[in-house]
Amino acid sequence: MKMGILVLEGPYQHQAADSAYHFVKAAQARGHQIVGIFLYTDAVNNANRFIDPPGERNIAKRFDDLAAQGIPVVACTACAKFRGLRPDLKTEHVRLSGLGSLAQYLRDADRFVTFGD
């Protein structure tokens, strides 16, 4: 089954980003395809390449790893601008793009799951 993902919360403050990651891993393990992950509002902070938590899971690296595998992971350009996440601060494989990407994932997916508050 094709699945699309929307994340609405940033790293560490809220479980949404962790849950999204674990959901994606579990879905992949069951043979489902992830058509895209859209990082919206504070979730763009999950794509900050300077995230460096001593002794803890690195949430930014998790999403970057998913993107490196070939899953489209997009952080909202406007949300990034609002939060000072300049393109040079972004993790390597996550792309900045607009709501058109979200619309595309909504169209491509059989199921769509949102992780937020």
């Binding site: 609405l8 509002t41 406007a78 607009g98 709501l99 058109g100 979200l102 909504l106 169209r107």
Partner: protein
Amino acid sequence: MNGVAVVMRKAPYGSVYTAEGFRTIVGIAVFELDISVLFVDDGVYALVRGQDPSQLSMKPLGDGFPTLTEFGVTKFFVHDQSLAERGLTLKDLVMDAEIVDSARIAQILETVGKVLPF
């Protein structure tokens, strides 16, 4: 056409959710998605007339929703119980919307299939 339900659940200024829900509707409406907008729980406050968040240095949200028809978004549903619990009626709202009960909300979400909760 692909159906999407955008659900407003939160009060309009306490978090960015309602504002971003609105921005999402505008952003995805041009991509041939059949959008239904639902207002439940504190989300019904997003439609209340006369909002003035100027002292918060924020822009009023309510007036934006009636303009969504210009983007081809015409399906608006407001949960009856959420309105009643807050002492509101259709007359308090900035626009005409279909007042629906919980069963109808469930039916809409099931029919549409893809749901974006804000």
